[in-house]
Amino acid sequence: MNRSIDVSGLPTYGYGSRALTWWGTAGMMLTEGVVFLGAVAAYFYLRLHSEQWPPYGESPQLFWGTLNVAILAVSALPNHYAKKCSEREDLRGARRGLVLCVVFGVLLLGIRVFEYVGINTTYTGSAYGSITFALLTLHTVHLLTDFIDTVVLAVLLFTGPLEGRRFVDVSENCLYWWFVVVSWIPIYLTIYIAPRLL
């Protein structure tokens, strides 16, 4: 028998994979993950077809890139805190968490400038330089995008207008930050470690 279903008592949003926003974010992460994968594949493809790597000059300076690995890893903590608070709809906690995330964002972007300085190659000099720059820039664009998202959400949490779904947005923004953190590991290994080992 075909029944009718009354949905008037259902909630008007949900967290995690219940939310449409989660699916949108997951779709973006998948797409961008494939972009990263393609760029890393291109890196090693070009490596295979070169005798010397890097062709001239030195490998990128380890210090700044490695520092960013550490800071990105630590930034996962306030990020996780903001995510948990938002999922409890704890406004004060979410605000605190997001402000910390913004501070970390500034720090990371600042250090990223030094990474560019210490990369020891130019994008025009060789295919090695081009792909190294491409990888670093791809990740920087993600860093910058999620930084802006975080700033916007943080401002919103202080100024309003607020409704429950904004907490879903905060939660999904934090999910995306995880992507920025985790994707840096293979890219870091490629940019900084691969030229020293291969």
Binding site: N2, Y15, L20, E89, T124
Partner: protein, 640 residues
């Protein structure tokens, strides 16, 4: 207070109405309106690209012709191929999906209505850029795949290839966002009761296609961005002198390019699986087999790309692997064809209405295309036929047979739903026969020409080659195709005003889009359906109903992925100009980047501003949402 159905419909009409006038038209997020525009736009690009093809055929009709010179000819075939692939074939399938998927799964809306509008505007602006550039004599000129080094800075001066590279960025961005929208809609917004095994095959086809898009398109976007930076700021990705590699491009391109073929034709197969049962008056034979065949095809499609590179001198072991994989894909395709034959064979009352005619045309043309595909899959034969007209014939048999014929079947099938009126059946038959006969006259001779040694992309040939008669025949065929498209356009224009009224379910089909009025209101369903089988409209009992959705705010039901049980009520965002403004900003950035790298910086800032405007909640929306808000049960005790 419970409202009657009529009062509910009246309230929904008010709630879902767009603002009047131009502003409403530009800011609409209704998936029906966007879907229709998307289809018309993609079809417009099809017509333009088709006209370029007819021009090429006129040039090739006789030997030593000087109608058009080599430079324009290069632009003609490049723009033709680029527009057909990137502005017609992929977008039109996605457009059908944007229009149909929400209704087929019983939802009032697509998952991300504003994103949907954005991906439409992006495609429109990208397409306009290409054709305006072509009119200004800066159309792409080195083929739809734009191989470096020919496409690189050294051999293609000017801006022609930059236009090509940015067109790719436009169209792939649009496709990627559309894919996310379709996947989310199909998995999260299904009618209660529509379990995974009850999803219509066309929806499955579009979901599988969308996943292919997510895995394939980033590769070409990356590749074309590398190409652009090689040309604009002297990066060295494809320059062998500085450690780059031109074959890197071919890998990146064909890793996308081969799945692309299946991205184009899987939705066509889905349409067949949807249309065939309607006209056979029975359930489709082998639902699960058809579904698995599509999934296997999608999977294998990613293992074939190197067969486009058989003549580039890669190691033989790899070649054997790719030969085997290429031929293997005939198995799932064959399986589907047998399932359809079984569906036809088991029906008591086959009806040969116009959509069915196009499906029959598909069988004939696509099987020929498939057979020549098996031939070309073999490396030994491919080495001989590479870059000859045999390949031109093959790819048109596959793409026009596999995608365009089912698509035209789909146009004729869903036209009554979109407009409320039937297309003229007599004109539809003219369209079909002219197209079918014209197509075979145009493209069959190309097999022979290819075997005789005529290579692709030559703007003329001398009379002592003996190719003249077949080329003339082929040109005649292309004119017949053009006539059939003209009949189709006339039919559409006339029938949408004066066609026979269709009613809700004119073909007596089984799926949910036919449970809506024709044409459907912006919210599709006054009360979304609850289903208990794969063919809900063929059940003795009418589908159940979802009651209790608000009528004074745009809303739709979100369900769980695995069992489609109701999960929450989604309150949708209001229509907005933001998607259009963001698309304009993105277009400015993309087009500006053809000329200066700084466009990426300033354009990027502008895009960021537009996206913040897009995202920033309006006070009125928030008030409305708060009035309806019911919080989920959150665990307040959970530790931070």
């Amino acid at each position: 207070m419970t409202l009657g159905r009529l009062e509910e419909a009246a309230a929904l009409d008010r709630t879902w109405a767009d603002a009047p006038g131009l502003r409403g038209w530009l800011s609409t997020t209704d998936h029906h309106a966007i879907g229709r525009r998307f289809i018309v736009t993609a079809f417009g690009f099809f017509v333009l690209a088709g006209l370029l093809a007819v021009t090429m055929r006129l040039q090739l009709a006789v030997a030593d012709n000087d109608l058009i010179g080599p430079d324009l000819y290069n632009q003609l075939f490049s723009v033709h191929g680029t527009a057909m692939m990137f502005l017609f074939a992929v977008p039109v399938m996605e457009a059908m999906g944007v229009y149909l998927v929400p209704m087929m799964v019983g939802s009032r809306s697509i998952a991300f209505p504003r994103l949907n509008a954005f991906s439409y505007w992006i495609l429109l602006f990208g397409g306009l850029m290409l054709f305006v550039a072509f009119c200004l004599n800066i159309g792409p000129e080195v083929g739809w795949f734009s191989y470096p080094p020919l496409a690189g800075p050294e051999y293609s001066a000017g801006k022609r290839q930059d236009v090509w590279a940015q067109l790719i960025t436009f169209s792939e961005l649009s496709a990627l966002l559309g894919a996310i929208n379709i996947i989310t809609t199909a998995l999260k917004m299904r009618a209660p009761g529509m379990t995974l095994r009850r999803i219509p095959l066309l929806v499955w086809a579009l979901v599988i296609t969308s996943f292919m898009v997510l895995f394939a398109m980033p590769s070409v976007m990356l590749g074309s961005t590398f190409l652009l930076t090689d040309r604009l700021v002297s990066t060295q990705f494809y320059n062998p002198a500085e450690g780059g590699d031109a074959l890197l491009w071919q890998h990146l391109f064909w890793f996308f390019g081969h799945p692309e073929v299946y991205i184009i034709f899987l939705p066509g197969l889905g349409m067949i699986s949807q249309i065939l049962p309607t006209f056979c008056g029975r359930k489709v034979f082998g639902y699960f087999g058809l579904l698995m065949a599509m999934a296997v095809t999608a999977f294998l499609a990613f293992g074939l790309w190197v067969h486009h590179m058989f003549t580039t001198g890669l190691p033989p072991v790899g070649m054997s692997f790719f030969t085997a994989a290429s031929i293997l894909i005939a198995i799932p395709t064959g399986l589907q064809i047998f399932c359809w034959i079984a569906t036809i064979a088991g029906s008591g009352q086959l009806r040969f209405a116009s959509p069915m005619l196009f499906i029959t045309g598909f069988f004939f043309i696509f099987i020929i295309g498939g057979l020549t595909g098996v031939m070309l899959g073999s490396m030994t034969l491919d080495s001989q036929l590479h870059d000859s007209y045999f390949v031109v014939a093959h790819l048109h048999y596959v793409l026009i047979g596999g995608a365009v014929f089912p698509l035209f079947g789909g146009f004729h099938y869903w036209f009554p739903k979109m407009t409320g009126r039937h297309l003229s059946e007599a004109a539809a038959r003219w369209t079909f026969w002219l197209f079918f006969i014209g197509f075979n006259i145009a493209f069959f001779p190309m097999h022979v020409l290819g075997l005789q040694g005529m290579t692709r992309r030559i703007y003329t040939y001398s009379s002592d080659t003996g190719w003249e008669a077949l080329n003339m025949l082929s040109t005649l065929g292309s004119i017949i195709i053009a006539a059939s498209i003209l009949v189709f356009i006339g039919n559409v224009l006339r029938s949408r005003r004066c066609g026979v009224l269709a009613g809700d379910n004119p073909w007596n089909a089984a799926t949910l889009e036919w449970a809506t009025p024709s044409p459907p209101p912006p919210y599709s369903f006054v009360r979304p359906p609850v289903v208990s089988s794969r063919e809900p409209l063929w059940e003795v009992e009418a589908p159940g109903e979802v009651v209790g959705l608000p009528t004074d705010i745009r809303s739709t039901l979100v369900t769980r992925v695995h069992d489609a049980a109701p999960d929450h009520v989604e309150l949708l965002v209001s229509p907005s100009l933001a998607p259009l403004l963001a698309a304009l900003a993105v277009s400015g950035m993309f087009i500006g980047s053809i000329f200066t790298p700084w466009a990426a910086v300033w354009g990027g800032a502008l895009v960021a501003i537009c996206l913040v405007y897009w995202f920033w909640p309006r006070n009125r929306d928030t008030q409305e949402h708060l009035a309806h808000e019911i919080k989920p049960e959150v665990d307040l005790q959970a530790p931070a």
